[in-house]
Symmetry: D2
Subunit: 269 residues, 4 copies
């Protein structure tokens, strides 16, 4: 609903609701602000929700050169400043989690890292390469088959095959060459992601959400995050793939909303 | 803070806070209302909290004869009626979860079943027998060593050994013969627990919480519950044993509070 | 080293060693008889080893029309007859396991099913589609990136990246259009695979090998097989992906060789 | 069938079969040489099998003072010398695995560590304490209920309840006070077990067997062993508890026999 300017580039964001709690959500690589709309009515009951499209995503400006995730981190920190947000819960899934773990803004007081990883390893690089090959065809079916099946669990994919076939048709219509080129740059921007040695800098409470059947960033990745972050909590959603907020929204958002409300409490047993 | 009468027996309960949401909590077998006190300040921010001691537990009346869990179910349903509670979230852990899944009161609109099981199988019967043997010694150290190590994860037990050694000393002082006899009857009352064929009757939303390293009611038990209940959600707390609310309070109560707030939402994707 | 004729089509097979035990090995979809050569010296110490290329694989005849796995089952059964083999241990991995579980030859007395599944579900169909798209480019790099990263575990892929980069170069040289067309037909032949209702017919001892990090046919697939076969044993190789015989050869072949030697024993405890 | 003398103490051992391969088996704490007899006919086909009772076990001499596992290590090394064994595969389960991983005899060329751990942590110490309390009753039923249910998986315990009830009756008859006192000393001898810093000294090939539902030495223990030993292989037996050789003999001994035959091979891929 609004744009702000960063270094001459337009970035799109949305603010939903009013509350003394603020939840800022960072998208996965194939998502956009609109991906979260089904959940806004529920989330608004607990917090003000801020959505944002990364550069090369949704309604934010498309780039022309390659870059690293540093520009997305800058975007998020600039947005927090622009809106003068305080005591923010910052939630990032997948690519958004990689950006979230790099934010060092003192405006953030809680972090939720969902289905994400501390670094882009060789497997993830190769997955990225295969997605780039598929994107370079500019063919929605090829792209869909290369990218979508691995982001859902087998159970979901089998149960929801008609919905997924519909999505495949939408893909064919929806995406323009510009979108695919943006997607390719986003993939490339994550290739150098390696935050492993800096995770010890994170001092705030962190909730890590893992999905049992995630094959893009498998539970081992979140286990490694959990071992490296000093004040982290790790929970696994059962029978769930990488796109956890679609597959298991109640489980996913119960964790998010609950952690916003209880994550700062200290208990003396 | 109050008692009510059921069939001539006194039952103790506590009501904390005021809210249009109500959370009723049912204890595990070795717990009592006081076990939840560290979490009340946090929970009160979201819901009115009702605690209750089962018969043979805490400040409720001690029995003299054996019985089944049916009397505890009756106690819970009578309490819901006595307080005229509506739209209740009923949370039960372990023994409390076994009772919770048997409640059919229309006053309950959400169920949270934590580290519990649909039936007392041969292994659980044998664990119960070994606990009874230990209780019959009326010796706090013997009882502690037989019952406490298996309810925590290895990680917690190793990290918190001093706290646990203190607890062992408290056990020696705290428990009177009457307590041990009540404990033995509670164990016996769970022996006939078998709700497997009735789980399909549960129509409300159910959150199932599992603890990865629970060896009393291992994750397979919650997996089985999840497969038998029509509208259930299953989440696993990582690196956590049976006494999950003590080992991982933030994870445990984030799920509880989040599910109270989001568990009824339907999402159209 | 030899060919035999089935319905006018040539099929290639190899026989290694002499022994009163016989191990017949069925390839995965991207493999051929030559894939097993590094293991022959070791296997020959325990058994005569028979390797065979499926139609559209290695040195067997390439087809021109589509078909189902039934022709591969016929090929295997015909080979067992042609060589007059008795008391055979039949080992199949992935596609080879799908064929193996359909063999009903009385010449087979033990089955070893490795990293395979009872049916081609929607996820596996979609993976197949994405592989077909990649194959249709006839571009070794595109094909490699689409098919190879998911068949290894993250640990192996990261540790062996140089070896894998070499393999990618070999792919570019090795595969001719004919090979890719054969590969596509092999994928298509597996689409109708659904043996779920017939697994109860298998009466012989069956060893099921699962790889913890297999994302093509994840452990749940082998769990399902194990639940449906009356006399089956299930073992999981830790930190291992789909191509288990390459990633963890000692673990894989210890199981194979050990089961050949002990799988028929009955123990009275 | 034979005794040998170590520092004036008699130790009992058995040698079964003749072969150029030798398998030496070390018992778990509640076992004895006779525990392995059902498997000897099968094992003899592949290897000469040497069984031995630790001090305070079976037919070996009972001690009068406390000691550490060092005397059992000395016993094993002395036996290897006395029999002049070469190129031995040394298999130890649980307590026997703890002893096996401490042997540094050059007569051993392969190690198989089953359901064992690198050190006695606080949980294991507490389990030991609870077993000691039960043993001190000299009551077979109390001892059985304290020690036996946790060593089997739920599935096995439920399926084999009649066999287990029979075993309980045998326990009541079989064990004399002397046995219980020996058992208590064996428990105490393991309390100081901590080999974590010395595992890097082990240079030979090591197979680590893990049982999915082992609650005494859970899979995490074998995972830790695997991470600390340079040339180790880790395999998990599914649906199996601590007493793996009884619950899943085919899986257990397939691994043992297979590793004896293939564990030294190097493969060039």
């Amino acid at each position: 609903m609004a744009y702000f300017n960063l270094n001459g580039k337009k970035a799109y964001y949305e603010v939903h609701g009013e509350s003394d709690r603020t939840l800022v959500i960072l998208n996965g690589i194939m998502m956009s602000t609109s991906s979260w709309l089904p959940f806004i009515p529920m989330l608004k009951r607990t917090a003000q929700v801020v959505l944002v499209d990364f550069f090369d995503q949704g309604k934010s400006e498309y780039m022309t050169e390659n870059y690293t995730q540093a520009i997305q981190v800058e975007l998020v920190e600039a947005l927090l400043d622009a809106l003068d947000l305080q005591q923010v819960t910052l939630l990032g899934i997948s690519y958004g989690g990689e950006v979230a773990m790099k934010c060092r803004s003192s405006r953030v007081s809680q972090l939720i890292l969902a289905n994400t990883t501390a670094h882009t390893d060789q497997t993830l690089t190769a997955i990225g390469d295969s997605w780039v090959y598929a994107a370079e065809t500019f063919d929605g079916s090829v792209f869909f088959k290369a990218t979508i099946p691995p982001i859902y669990s087998k159970g979901f994919y089998n149960d929801r095959i008609e919905w997924l076939n519909d999505r495949e048709k939408q893909f064919k219509k929806a995406f323009k060459p510009e979108w695919y080129q943006g997607f390719i740059r986003l993939v490339r921007s994550a290739e150098s992601h390696d935050e492993r040695k800096k995770l010890s800098e994170i001092q705030m409470p962190v909730l890590i959400i893992s999905a049992e059947e995630d094959v893009i960033t498998p539970p081992q990745c979140q286990n490694d995050l959990n071992a490296s972050i000093s004040d982290s909590k790790l929970v696994i959603i059962k029978h769930c793939g990488h796109a956890a907020m679609y597959e298991k929204p109640t489980e996913f958002f119960s964790l998010v909303v609950g952690f916003m409300l209880c994550g700062q409490d200290q208990f003396t047993l």
